[in-house]
C-alpha cells in the first residue's frame, strides 16, 4: 500500500544565486535573492508565501529576520537547525504542514557569505567540552576519523577517494555555474597537502558564498505550474552530535533516512536515475552511496573508482559538481535538492541526465550527525 504522503506535495520553484564569491553581499542578501528567484520561477510572489522554513549559521533567529526583510505574512514556520541537512528536514516538515492545511505556499531558503566573510565557519554557540580539549580540526578531523576506520575495515584507499574529487570536477566542467572548473587529476589530489590523515585539502569541499531557495505547494496546486518535481518520499534521522558518539564510524544514519524515504516513495535505489549526495569531504560521497544502497557496504571505494559516478558512468552523482567543485556556502544541503529538481525538469544543459524521472537528494549535517533523504519524481512517477 502506498504511503498517504507520497506525491502529495511538489517543488514548483527553485532559486540559486550562483554568486559564490560576492563581497558586500550578506548572508541575508544571498537568501533574499534566492527566495525572489524561486518565487519568480514558480510564478508566485512574496505575498503568496504563508509558510517559512529556514536555517542559517549567522543567525539564531532566521525566521524572524527573514520574515521582516522579505515582508512576509506567515502563518506557519519551522527553523529546525540540524546543520547542512536542515533543508530536507524542512521539506519533510513542509510536506506535513501543507497536507495539514497549516500553510499553502512553503518557502525554504538559505544564504551564506562564508567565503567573503573570511572563509571560516561561523559556528553557533555549541560547546563540546569532551572533544574540544583534544584540538581536532572541526569538522575535517571527524570525517578523517570516519575515513580512517573505513580504510581499516574495508581496504578503501586514498586513490579511491581521489577519484571522487576527480568525478566531481568532471561534472563541474559541464556546469558553467560551478566555482572550480580547472582540470583535476588523481595525482593532483594525492599530491595535495594532508590536513588530517587521511584527508588532504583536495578531499575537502569548497568554501564559497551562496544562496538557494525552494518553493513547495500541494500537488493539486502544483499542476498549474511548469514541471513540478513531486516529493515522493522523504526521511530524516539523527544519530549523534560529536563524532566519538557515532555508533559505527563506517555507517551513517543515512541508512535510516534512506529507508524511510524509499518506503514512502515505494521505490528502491535501482529505480533512481539521478543522485545528489552531500559531499563535504570525498569520504561522504562514498559512505552515503553505500548507506543509501547504491553499492554494498565496503564496496564504495571500488564503485566510485570504477568511473560509475563520473560523466558517462552508470550512476550520475553530484552532477552540478557537488560541494567539492560547484559551491559550498557552509550548509550545502539545499543545493542537492535544487540540482535534483532541475534535472527532473530537464534544465541542466550539457550535464543533463537524459530522461531522468526519479532523483534522490541526500544531505548531511554536523559531523555525519544528521541525515536527510528526499526522493523526487516527474509527473510520470505519480
Amino acid at each position: 500500500m502506498s504511503d498517504p504522503h507520497r506525491g502529495t506535495t511538489a517543488v514548483i520553484g527553485t532559486g540559486i544565486t550562483n554568486r559564490w564569491d560576492a563581497p558586500g553581499f550578506s548572508a541575508f542578501d544571498q537568501l533574499q535573492e534566492a527566495s525572489i528567484l524561486a518565487l519568480e520561477d514558480a510564478g508566485l510572489s512574496l505575498g503568496d508565501v504563508d509558510g517559512l522554513f529556514c536555517a542559517m549559521s549567522v543567525s539564531g533567529l532566521p525566521v524572524l529576520n527573514v520574515a521582516e526583510k522579505l515582508g512576509l505574512n506567515i502563518r506557519h514556520a519551522d527553523g529546525t537547525m540540524a546543520g547542512g541537512s536542515s533543508f530536507i528536514f524542512h521539506m519533510r516538515s513542509a510536506m506535513a504542514a501543507l497536507n495539514a492545511g497549516l500553510c499553502d505556499v512553503a518557502l525554504i531558503a538559505y544564504g551564506s557569505n562564508q567565503r567573503s566573510a573570511g572563509g571560516r565557519l561561523v559556528p553557533m554557540p555549541d560547546p563540546q567540552p569532551y572533544e574540544a580539549p583534544y584540538k581536532a580540526l572541526y569538522p575535517i578531523s571527524s570525517y578523517a576519523l570516519a575515513a580512517q576506520r573505513h580504510m581499516h575495515e574495508f581496504g578503501t584507499t586514498r586513490a579511491q577517494l581521489a577519484e571522487i574529487a576527480v568525478a566531481a570536477r568532471k561534472w563541474a566542467q559541464l556546469n558553467p555555474a560551478a566555482f572550480e572548473r580547472d582540470d583535476l587529476t588523481v595525482e593532483d589530489v594525492l599530491a595535495s597537502r594532508i590536513v588530517s590523515d587521511p584527508l588532504s585539502k583536495a578531499d575537502c569541499c569548497l568554501v564559497t558564498d551562496g544562496g538557494g531557495a525552494l518553493v513547495m505547494t500541494r500537488a493539486d496546486r502544483a499542476r498549474d505550474h511548469a514541471a513540478p518535481a513531486y516529493l515522493l518520499g522523504v526521511g530524516t534521522a539523527v544519530s549523534h552530535r560529536q563524532i566519538a558518539a557515532m555508533p559505527d564510524l563506517t555507517t551513517s544514519c543515512a541508512v535510516q533516512s534512506g529507508r524511510e524515504a524509499y518506503r514512502m516513495a515505494g521505490l528502491g535505489p535501482g529505480e533512481v536515475d539521478h543522485v545528489m549526495v552531500y559531499d563535504a569531504f570525498t569520504i561522504c560521497t562514498l559512505m552515503f552511496l553505500e548507506d543509501l544502497g547504491f553499492c554494498a557496504k565496503g564496496e564504495g571505494g571500488a564503485f566510485c573508482a570504477s568511473g560509475a559516478i563520473a560523466p558517462g558512468g552508470s550512476l550520475p552523482v553530484n552532477t552540478n559538481g557537488g560541494g567539492l567543485s560547484c559551491n559550498h556556502p557552509g550548509m550545502y544541503g539545499i543545493f542537492t535538492v535544487i540540482e535534483a529538481v532541475e534535472q527532473l525538469r530537464g534544465r541542466c544543459g550539457a550535464r543533463q541526465v537524459a530522461g531522468a524521472e526519479v532523483a534522490l537528494a541526500h544531505a548531511n549535517g554536523g559531523v555525519l550527525s544528521s541525515q536527510a533523504t528526499a526522493i523526487l519524481g516527474t509527473a510520470a512517477t505519480i
Partner: protein, 129 residues
C-alpha cells in the same frame, strides 16, 4: 521545594569535571541494563533509565580510529578510544603520531594541559616511552 531526589546535587558534567580535578577518570554504568557510557548524561542512552551511576573507569582500551592533525607548527594525534567497559571517547594518544594505529591497546593517564586543566590522554601499552 518539590524536586525529584534522583537528580539532586551537581549535574553529571559538573561531577565528572570535579572528579577529574581530583585525578579520577569516571564513566557511567547503568544499573538496570549494565551499559557503560561516556560522556555522562542524566539518561542511559541504551535503555532510557534515569540518572545512571558514575563509576571509576579501568582506563584500559583500544584505538577505534585515529587521525594526525597536521599544522604548520606541528602535528598531534586525535583518536577515538573504545574503553574496555564498552563506552567510547575522543582522546589523544601520546608519543609519535605516525606510530598510532587502529587496534593498538592503550591505557589512560591524566595530564595537565598548558592552561592548567586536567585532561585524559592515552599511552600505547607496551610502547617505549
Amino acid at each position: 521545594m518539590i524536586t525529584d531526589s534522583r537528580f539532586d546535587g551537581p549535574g553529571p558534567d559538573s561531577r565528572w569535571q570535579a572528579a577529574l580535578a581530583e585525578g579520577r577518570f569516571l564513566i557511567q554504568r547503568c544499573a538496570p541494563c549494565g551499559a557503560a557510557q561516556f560522556p555522562p548524561s542524566l539518561a542511559c542512552r541504551s535503555c532510557g533509565a534515569a540518572a545512571p551511576a558514575m563509576v571509576e573507569a579501568s582506563g584500559r582500551g583500544t584505538i577505534y580510529s585515529t587521525t594526525t592533525v597536521r599544522k604548520r607548527d606541528g602535528s598531534h594525534n586525535v583518536s577515538i578510544i573504545d574503553l574496555a567497559e564498552g563506552a567510547r571517547m575522543m582522546s589523544r594518544v601520546e608519543g609519535d603520531p605516525d606510530r598510532v594505529r587502529i587496534g593498538r591497546p592503550v591505557a589512560a593517564r591524566i595530564v595537565t594541559t598548558e592552561d592548567g586543566a586536567p585532561l585524559v590522554v592515552f599511552d600505547i601499552v607496551g610502547a617505549a616511552k
